[in-house]
Symmetry: C2
Subunit: 151 residues, 2 copies
DNA sequence: TGAGATTTGATCGCGCGCGATATAAGACTG
DNA sequence: CAGTCTTATATCGCGCGCGATCAAATCTCA
């Protein structure tokens, strides 16, 4: 016997990269939840707000391209953010197919209240700067290849 | 001016490690979908099957510990797998609180049909072995720290 | 200009995740 | 051995993700 596995053995869960990502994603959610509860945001809603804080007036399509989400996910989510008073959805007057997303003053102000979150999360992660960048780079490579071969 | 950011600027989405993981997770889903469609499995259902192929007779609790999922997620998922004929759910005769998960012959046989999937996905990822292990190690570190500080 | 193709967003259905709660079986304690 | 506590699973409600479909606005080009 050269190894402990039978020839037809399936790998264990721990060997799957996809599972590492899947479960680490869940772990992130748990960390974010208490921080975001104060702002009455879910985690995907927070990502949308981060994108809009980086620049308002985007269309749903443009936002979706950043987040890799389409209107079937975004429309209801954006309506909830609108209902909470954080943004408004306005049909573009030039091209009425498009909906532009504009932060309300309250949505702008939320940025200040969210300010400690990134540092707070970074502290919980506790990776060395170098490892952090390595991780970002490798994840970026994986994502790029997967999205390319999925097209 | 020392930098291009205002003092109160929020980081961009691309700087968030959580976002890299979030979107890479979605990309994995897209890759798995066509492969799993043939087996009539969703991605979380596939993870459950992988765990059971590694050894059945587990309780729901034990399975949940591996996947970081609790009964509110697993019970309906397991019922769907049972309805498809891949496993059976049996109350433990010693301790009737527990439900033990046992693969049916069809569930066992599915392993053969799923056999090419890991290699197929690995090919799509296309990372060097060393990078793959680095990624696994760093994700493991992050997950461990996050789950510890969330407890 | 007018018929068909394309683009944008909205809607629907279903399967996760997960917090909160319920129920039932088992363990513990006085 | 009765009352209480704990544990394992189930149920409910809500918010994503996403494939499929639809409606309206815009574009194309004969």
């Amino acid at each position: 016997m050269l190894g402990k596995k039978a020839a037809d053995a399936f790998p264990g869960l721990d060997e799957f990269l996809c599972f590492s990502i899947y479960s680490t994603g869940h772990a992130f959610n748990q960390i974010y939840r208490p921080l975001l509860d104060k702002l009455e945001l879910t985690y995907p809603q927070y990502l949308v707000m981060v994108s809009l804080w980086g620049g308002d007036g985007q269309t749903v399509k443009e936002l979706g391209a950043q987040l890799s989400l389409d209107s079937s996910t975004l429309t209801p989510l954006l309506k909830r953010l609108e209902a909470r008073g954080y943004l408004s959805r306005r049909r573009d007057t030039q091209d009425e197919r498009q909906v532009r997303l504009v932060l309300t003053p309250e949505g702008q102000a939320l940025q200040q209240r969210a300010r400690e979150i990134p540092a707070c999360v970074a502290r919980e992660i506790g990776l060395k700067k170098e490892d952090y960048h390595t991780l970002q780079r490798l994840l970026g490579e994986v994502r790029e290849r997967l999205t390319k071969s999925a097209e």
